[in-house]
């Protein structure tokens, strides 16, 4: 039978031993062992409490309270250490999961749009944002739509089989996208604001800068009171959108059978931005970028539109050249060979 003092002593020892052992714990698993050793069914503290039967009724509450205090202290310490060990274990895990972030990423490939088609769409989008609808025309066209309706003179050299691919006397591979103008004007009455991009064909041997198949983009606006000032503004806006607001344009009088007046538009040399360098022969201007003009009254009339009431402008540009300039591609053949290593660059 243990007395009060003895029991107090025992409780004190238990507390000290428990705290001591706890301070040496390094593993979460060991924690449970300690808890069982001291606080479990057969634990030391529990045993002491069982021995409380030999105490007097005045001594029992004192020891009881002391025992509870000790229990609490040990439990709190266990929890505290549990928390600490958990954090340590977590940090340990994080540390061991460190990887070499400089190693290459997994190969998740997205496909690539063809640079030429991509540029064509970029151009179309610029014009769409200016209210131009997108229309398509056939690659195989009638001589009428490709030449006659466009006011091309009968003896124009471009009609020669040395320039144009013919299927029959009346059917050819379109040499420009301009026939779409005729189709659009015949199909809808003004106001018209359309753009059409697509394949065109000329009898040109394949070399670094020429291909028998190439791409053009055509634009047409027909309405009342359309002026050449409108044409200039539209072209300026387009060029600034494509090349940036520093780009300058120069409208030079030129000749096309289907526009009158006609003009060619140069843009500042892309290398020196207009200052003059070797690439532009010191002129400051790059080669002509596009052709344009006011729709010839004969063309309007051919489509059933009265030139006294309506006027319009049209423009056309070569998409392949713009793509080549934009991406620094020096050989047009690359555009049609479709080497994956080439396509993957865009």
């Amino acid at each position: 039978m243990k007395g009060e003092t003895e029991m107090k002593e025992m409780l004190g020892t238990i507390k000290e031993n428990a705290l001591n052992e706890l301070s040496q714990i390094t593993k979460l698993d060991d924690l449970e062992q300690i808890r069982v050793k001291y606080l479990g069914k057969k634990g030391e503290l529990t045993q002491v409490l069982r021995g409380m039967g030999g105490l007097s009724p005045e001594e029992r509450p004192i020891i009881g309270q002391l025992a509870n205090e000790v229990r609490e202290i040990i439990e709190n310490e266990i929890e505290r250490i549990r928390g600490k060990l958990k954090v340590e274990a977590k940090n340990e895990k994080l540390k061991s999961e460190k990887i070499d972030i400089s190693m290459p990423g997994k190969d998740i490939e997205k496909g690539h749009r063809h640079p030429l088609i991509g540029v064509m769409e970029e151009l179309e989008n610029i014009f769409m944002s200016m209210g131009f609808s997108i229309v398509q025309g056939p690659e195989v066209e009638t001589v009428y739509n490709n030449f006659d309706a466009l006011n091309s003179p009968e003896n124009h050299p471009s009609r020669d089989p040395s320039d144009t691919f013919y299927i029959t006397d009346d059917i050819l591979l379109r040499t420009h996208t301009s026939p779409v103008q005729i189709r659009a004007m015949k199909q809808s009455k003004p106001p018209l604001r359309i753009v059409s991009a697509g394949r065109t064909f000329r009898f040109d041997d394949v070399d670094d800068t020429h291909s028998p198949m190439f791409h053009q983009l055509e634009g047409l606006v027909v309405d009342k009171n359309i002026t050449m000032a409108n044409l200039k503004h539209t072209i300026d806006m387009f060029i600034k959108e494509l090349f940036g607001s520093d780009m300058k344009t120069r409208f030079r009088p030129h000749y096309f059978p289907f526009t009158e007046p006609s003009a060619e538009v140069d843009v500042s040399c892309l290398k020196c931005m207009g200052k003059g360098c070797e690439a532009c022969n010191g002129t400051g201007w790059s080669m002509e970028l596009l052709g344009c003009g006011m729709v010839h009254p004969n063309v309007l009339r051919n489509c059933g539109i009265d030139p006294e009431v309506y006027s319009g402008f049209a423009f056309g540009l070569g998409v392949d050249r713009i793509a080549m300039v934009k991406y620094g591609i020096n050989n047009i053949r690359l555009l049609f060979e479709n080497d994956m290593r080439f396509l993957n660059q865009f």
Partner: protein, 798 residues
């Protein structure tokens, strides 16, 4: 066209430098391609006279000369063998500079002092193709005596610039120095100085020399003007004329030929001179050739003519192909004594067709092709005579023969200034417009707010009011037009449905990892052979190009498969490990043969791949595409009879009555034809059908409320049993609670009996009404197993 600025200055005052002139002319419509300096870097080269020529003591091929350059006599050793004592030649003194950075130093040649260099034309920077033949390889012998020691640059006019203009085809009037001078005068606001044409001494009468000139083909020749010059003295033309020709890109030959070329360049009217003594019967007949008639042109080539071609003939045979080239027999030689000058106006189309038929294009024919101003004929002819007289090369015979209907109608056009301003978006005063038109020699007058213009005969390109508006615009300056934004009703920019779906399809395919390719619309018919397409297949019925660039580009494609294979094969040969690609483009189906109307252009999609892929990769991609486009209800039906594809690994995609396309592995025979050593998978789809059946509408379906149960099932069946048959039975017996079926394993060999395969599925069961119990699921699952056993002889694998 080459225009020497010095020559231009004879007809118009130019007080700005050449670069500024070039800019101004470019901006008024004559685009400058390039400007070249005539002086290519010559310094300190002077006129010298050869006093002595002695054989070099130690070198057979060299001579030692003594040259008088005025201030001194110098010794020069040279290898030239075209020189003689008394010749005046260009001498590069010690310290002289020549084009190409060459510096002349004192030196010794084979032990003999040489203090300078005698120069050839090319050493002075004159291009080989314009150097007179007798001067070509040797020292440039000057045409006469010049002050000794004079700077050779003055003597030969080696200064100034030559502008190369790009003249548009509607402006033949600009294809002459006078024409460009006119443009220059209008652009700079100066006055034009036309050459004064005056012949001082004319003798006899032309009728004593020419019996008859007759034009039989009046439709092909609307003016024929001739004069005669006698006592011809053939020799070199004066240096000033030679130099002008050279700068304009023409090689001097002899004084008579040079004068005809000179006047052609100056005025734009081609001139031909016949040796009159060689004209049989002294008759000129302008007629169509007879079929098979022959002529040897003056380039020495014999040509056979036909009755569509216009010739100049004497009483016995053709002596010139009209407008193209003269005959050798009647050409002007050093023995010619009397010449007949032809200055004519031929039908441009006829000259062009003839020139093309005989395969001969000349400076003259290129000018005639554009239909000349008939008023130039008499002017040019008289100019030729004037120049012959001036250089003392002959005596002009009085009189002329002119066969001409006189029908050069001067056109009257009207221009409304208000209309011009309206079209251009400008505010130009009517008086200003009149002034600009007059500067171009278009006689303009303002009356009652309308400008009347009398269009001169050299501007055949001006036929409508719009043409006059262009004249005003370009002289005013396009750069002066202030840009104005478009105003008007807001129109919604539209894209067609087919285009929208195309864009969507491209996004899907690119996102999956395919590269977009673009290939030629025309192919070689050999492609059909390489693809083993049967001779009687519809695919071989294609649109043929009459004048193709070569067999490789001779027919319009009826399938995209060939081009796709070519692209994949080429990539493979370059060592590219993996190539996944697609193309959306047109194939061309003739509506009937022979072709009478435009073919049907069918929008088609091709997908091709090799590397890191198999049939199911391709199928997965096609499935994803169709699913994203909202296409449902299609089936894959095996295709064993398409020789392009592997008979066991190909399927057609069928939706109702339509074939959406084909998908499969390419037949090994085809791979061999292309030299391809890896398996290739290709699908070709009718994109128009895809658009037709697409449905981009999306409606939300509620998410499942109740949990699912997944059960696996592994069965052994005969090899030929297709997955779709198994899945059909599963679904049919699924009692609506089969949510999804996933095939996760197919296995042959090992423990599996030969001729059979093991197939494992994961079946997910779910009800939308309640949570399924194990019993519910088992009931259905067991039924499924039973049916599989019953219908497919399936044996359950444990």
């Amino acid at each position: 066209m080459l225009v020497p600025v010095k020559w231009l200055k004879e007809y118009v005052d130019i007080d700005i430098d050449t670069k500024e002139l070039a800019d101004k002319l470019t901006m008024s419509g004559s685009h400058v391609d390039s400007i070249e300096s005539v002086d290519k870097g010559v310094e300190n080269v002077v006129v010298g006279k050869i006093l002595e020529i002695n054989q070099h003591p130690d070198a057979d091929r060299l001579v030692v000369t003594k040259i008088d350059v005025g201030t001194e006599v110098i010794q020069i050793v040279t290898g030239a063998n075209n020189i003689k004592v008394g010749d005046y030649i260009p001498v590069a003194l010690v310290g002289a500079k020549l084009p190409g950075g060459i510096k002349i130093k004192k030196g010794k040649l084979r032990g003999v002092d040489s203090n300078g260099m005698l120069c050839s034309a090319s050493e002075l920077g004159i291009s080989d193709n314009v150097v007179p033949k007798e001067n070509k390889d040797g020292i440039f012998i000057l045409d006469k005596e010049y002050p000794l020691g004079q700077d050779i640059k003055e003597v030969l006019g080696l200064y100034g610039e030559v502008i190369d203009f790009e003249i548009t085809p509607n402006r033949p009037d600009c294809l002459s120095i006078i024409g460009m001078a006119r443009e220059t005068a209008a652009t700079l606001g100066k006055t034009m100085r036309y050459p004064v044409i005056k012949i001082n001494n004319q003798v006899d009468n032309i009728n004593q020399y020419v019996k008859e000139v007759k034009v039989e083909a009046k439709d092909l020749c609307n003016r024929y003007y001739t004069k005669v010059v006698k006592d011809i003295k053939i020799g070199q033309s004066p240096m000033w004329m030679q130099r002008r020709l050279m700068e304009a890109g023409v090689r001097p030959i002899n004084n008579i030929v040079d004068i005809t070329n000179y006047v052609m360049l100056e005025i734009g009217q081609p001139i031909h001179a016949f040796d009159l003594d060689k004209v049989s019967g002294k008759k000129i007949i302008v007629r169509r050739a007879l079929d098979g008639e022959k002529i040897k042109t003056l380039d020495g080539v014999e040509r056979t003519l036909d009755s569509s071609m216009l010739v100049i003939a004497d009483d016995s045979r053709p002596i010139a192909v009209a407008g193209v080239m003269g005959g050798e027999d009647s050409e002007v030689t050093k023995d010619t004594k009397t010449i007949l000058i032809e200055s004519a106006n031929f039908n441009g189309r006829s000259v062009r067709l003839t020139s093309r038929k005989i395969g001969l294009r000349t400076e003259a024919s290129s000018k005639y092709e554009k239909d000349l101003d008939p008023n130039l004929s008499d002017i040019a002819c008289n100019r030729v005579c004037q120049l012959i007289e001036e250089i003392n090369a002959g005596t002009v015979v009085d009189g002329y023969i002119d066969i001409y209907d006189g029908k050069s109608e001067e056109k009257i056009l009207k221009l409304s200034p208000e209309k011009a301003n309206r079209l251009l978006g400008t505010n130009i005063e009517a008086d200003e417009m009149v002034r600009m038109l007059n500067a171009l020699e278009l006689k303009a007058k303002l009356e009652d707010n309308i400008i009347t213009v009398l269009v001169p005969s050299f501007r055949r390109d001006l036929t409508l009011e719009a043409d006059l508006i262009e004249e005003v615009a370009r002289i005013y300056g396009l750069d002066k037009i202030t840009p104005q934004p478009l105003v008007g009703t807001l129109i919604k920019a539209e894209k067609s449905v087919i285009r929208q779906i195309e864009d969507k399809a491209k996004n899907i395919l690119t996102g999956i990892g395919l590269n977009e390719i673009t290939t030629y619309s025309f192919i070689s018919p050999k492609q059909y052979d390489k693809l083993n397409i049967p001779e009687d297949s519809l695919k071989r019925i294609c649109v043929e190009i009459r004048n193709p660039l070569g067999e490789d580009f001779s027919v319009m494609r009826t399938t995209l498969i060939g081009n796709m294979l070519e692209v994949l094969t080429r990539n493979y040969k370059y060592g590219v490990e993996k190539a996944w690609a697609y193309e959306i483009g047109n194939v061309f189906i003739p509506r009937e043969l022979p072709i009478k109307e435009l073919p049907y252009e069918k929008r088609t999609l091709s997908i091709g791949m090799y590397g890191n892929s198999d049939f199911f990769t391709l199928k997965g991609i096609v499935e994803t595409l169709l699913e994203r486009l909202g296409i449902k209800g299609h089936e894959y039906i095996r295709e064993e009879n398409d020789p392009t594809f592997h008979p066991g690994r190909t399927a057609n995609i069928i939706l109702g009555n339509h074939v959406l396309g084909v998908i499969g592995e390419i037949h090994p025979d085809i791979l061999e034809n292309y030299g391809m050593k890896e398996r290739v998978y290709i699908a070709e789809l009718n994109f128009e059908l895809l658009v037709l059946f697409s449905n981009l509408e999306r409606k939300y379906t509620p998410l499942p409320k109740y949990p699912s149960v997944t059960r696996d099932i592994a069965i052994v069946v005969d090899e030929e049993i297709m997955a779709k048959d198994i899945e059909k039975i599963i679904r049919e017996n699924g009692k609506n609670i089969v949510e999804s079926i996933k095939l996760f394993d197919v296995y042959k060999g090992g423990q599996i009996e030969k001729g059979k395969k093991s197939v494992a599925y994961s079946i997910t069961y779910r009800s939308h009404e309640r949570t399924l119990t194990d019993e519910d699921v088992s009931k259905v699952h067991d039924k499924i197993v039973e049916k599989l056993k019953e219908n497919l002889n399936a044996v359950l694998r444990s």
